[in-house]
């Protein structure tokens, strides 16, 4: 018995080892290289580019990771992520200005609010799939926008302004752009590692299975709805976290954060970067936000260009930049 067993054990063990080589922070070697390249960029970037712009990109990377977890790895298309982003931003801003909460607790408030909202929206929306799911999320987000417009705590058209930056644990004063930059940089790198870990966790495996074949996952005894709600909540929480960070960086939370523009932007970022990839959110955020940033002087022409980019990727490069790259290099990024 041991003879044939040993030989058959060998083959798959070899192939399993080939698909699962050494790891760095949970990244495969190819992803570790990409991660370190990005980390190196983060270090030199402030010498080349405007730090506030970079921090905005980093916040959107976190937001895009949150979204990709849902679209790319669970197969759920949400058109309503502005609700989580916007409410996260408002509540973080409100907690810091009105309640005078320190940086960490303000961010936690924004994150927690988005998580609760995500739990509720997820619970409602997962009753339908595909386009109907997307439409429900859109409708709920529109309702949240209306609330944000009317409710007094959001400051209406003015938003919540002069949000104090505070300090990290009372030690690192964030009022200097340099301190803030390094804080946000460390956070975005940590979130990337976390996002990669979530995707490659037992939970992430279930999500990927649901995207692959939801009916089979169910017939194997997985409570698919519960996993979908959990993924939705996690995604919403991370979106709220990104928004809270953004609010601290800019010192402001406005109606823009909760508007449809934000919902579509995060779709566009992932489409361009690569849906269902780890580094798609990084590349996509840089491309889309750079377009906005450097073409800002041309006003509404940015929207036209964004539309063209959107069509180009939908028609020609549906895998996104990172998706195309990993196809060429034959390695998962």
């Amino acid at each position: 018995m041991s003879g044939p067993d040993a030989t058959t054990m060998d083959k798959p063990a070899v192939s399993a080892a080939a698909s699962r080589p050494a790891q760095f922070l949970g990244f495969t070697p190819a992803r570790a290289i990409f991660f370190l390249l990005f980390a190196a960029f983060v270090v030199v970037a402030p010498a080349l580019l405007y730090p506030i712009f970079l921090m905005k990109v980093y916040c959107f990377i976190i937001f895009a990771c949150a979204y990709n977890l849902l679209l790319g790895y669970t197969g759920l298309m949400s058109f309503g992520h502005a609700a989580f982003f916007g409410m996260g931003a408002y509540l973080c801003g409100y907690a810091a200005t009105r309640w005078g909460l320190p940086f960490e607790l303000a961010v936690l408030t924004g994150t927690g609010t988005a998580a609760l909202l995500g739990l509720l929206f997820g619970w409602i929306a997962i009753r339908r799939t595909g386009l109907y799911f997307a439409m429900i999320t859109l409708a709920l987000a529109q309702m949240v926008y209306f609330v944000a417009l009317q409710a007094p705590f959001t400051g209406g058209e003015n938003g919540i302004q002069s949000v104090p930056r505070g300090s990290v644990l009372g030690i690192v004063d964030l009022s200097s752009n340099t301190a803030l930059y390094w804080t946000v940089s460390i956070v975005v790198l940590a979130v990337l590692a976390l996002y990669n870990r979530i995707v490659h966790s037992p939970f992430g495996r279930v999500l990927r299975a649901i995207r692959n074949n939801p009916e089979r996952a169910m017939s194997l005894g997985y409570d698919v709805d519960r996993f979908k709600i959990a993924a939705f909540t996690l995604s919403a929480a991370l979106s709220g976290f990104a928004a809270s960070l953004k609010t601290v960086v800019f010192g402001i939370a406005t109606l823009t954060d909760v508007s449809t523009v934000v919902s579509t932007e995060v779709v566009l970022i992932n489409l361009v970067g690569g849906i269902g990839t780890i580094f798609g959110p990084v590349v996509g955020s840089f491309v889309i936000l750079s377009l906005e940033h450097f073409l800002a002087p041309y006003g509404p022409w940015v929207l036209l260009l964004q539309g063209l980019v959107f069509m180009l990727f939908v028609l020609v490069f549906r895998q996104g930049i990172v998706g195309e790259l990993q196809k060429r290099l034959r390695v998962g990024l």
Binding site: D5, T8, M9, K11, P12, A13, V14, S15, A16, A18, S19, R20, G26, L194, R197, I198, H200, S201, P202, F203, G204, R205, V206, R208, A209, N212, N213, E215, R216, M218, S219, L220, G221, Y222, D223, V224, F227, A230, L234
Partner: protein, 257 residues
């Protein structure tokens, strides 16, 4: 009919008057089934007899219009599909239902993963699941899939996909196994292998299968239920039902044409 008292006693699955209507059409119309512990039971009948619909009702893929299903005395009709699976009634599909983007080994690991705790642990590395590889490889070995372990499941040849699906179904160690046309679309050689396999895996569990290949049914199954137009027209051993005039009539011009 010999389905009386003595068989009921050790019935694993008791099905009473299950009915499924699609508009005015009754796909399944008042079907009773008693499946005894440890038997291999075939559901046969001409095309459109309602065999697969019957399966879908048993597993909760479809909701019942009427009737009741008990698994070991416990009512399972009305429960969602995943809850029924967790109670030990698991199916395979007519069209191989696998996770195409996973490797063969990952497919197995995913099926085994379900009974572990901590499937919501998003902060833990998936490497913890590699402790399941021993059992996964054992099953792959049993189904002749060991050499394909590292292959992307979507790239497998057809027959292997079927084998993979049966392997993942077995990974759950179900008490009652429902196989929907396990040999459909297979060559003669594969059919022989799958029949052997079913005999092997049926030890210690109950198997219900929909099957078109009558020699396979004859060689494999203890009891047969024949459906036609959504109703049971005969039941018994293979030799009993094949001698039944109504069965011959139902099959004339269809399977034997």
């Amino acid at each position: 009919m010999k389905t009386g008292e003595e068989r009921l006693k050790d019935a694993v699955l008791e099905v009473r008057g299950i009915t499924k209507r699609f508009g005015a059409f009754r796909a399944v119309d008042g079907v009773d089934l008693d499946i005894a512990e440890g038997e291999i039971h075939a559901l046969i009948g001409p095309n459109g007899a309602g065999k697969t619909t019957c399966f879908n009702l048993l597993t909760g893929n479809l909701s019942l219009t009427a009737g009741e299903i008990r698994l070991r005395g416990e009512v399972i009709s009305g429960l969602p599909m995943d809850a029924i699976a967790r109670r030990g009634l698991v199916r395979s599909y007519q069209i191989s239902s696998i996770f195409p983007d996973f490797t063969v080994l990952e497919n197995l690991r995913f099926a085994l993963q379900r009974k572990r705790r901590g499937n919501f642990d998003f902060w833990r590395s998936e490497r913890h699941l590699h402790t399941l590889d021993g059992r996964a490889l054992e099953l792959l070995e049993q189904l002749g899939l060991a050499e394909w372990a590292g292959t992307r499941a979507g790239d497998l040849p057809y027959g292997r996909k079927r084998a993979l699906e049966i392997a993942t179904t077995l990974a759950l160690d179900p008490q009652v196994l429902l196989l929907d046309e396990p040999t459909s679309g297979m060559g003669r050689e594969d059919i022989g292998r799958v029949a052997d396999l079913i005999r092997k895996i049926a030890r210690g569990r109950t198997v219900i299968m929909v099957e078109h290949n009558l020699p396979v049914v004859e060689g494999l199954c203890d009891n047969v239920t024949v459906l036609a137009r959504g109703q049971v027209i005969a039941r018994g051993t293979y030799s009993e039902v094949s001698a039944d005039a109504r069965v011959v009539e139902a099959y004339l011009g269809t399977a034997h044409a």
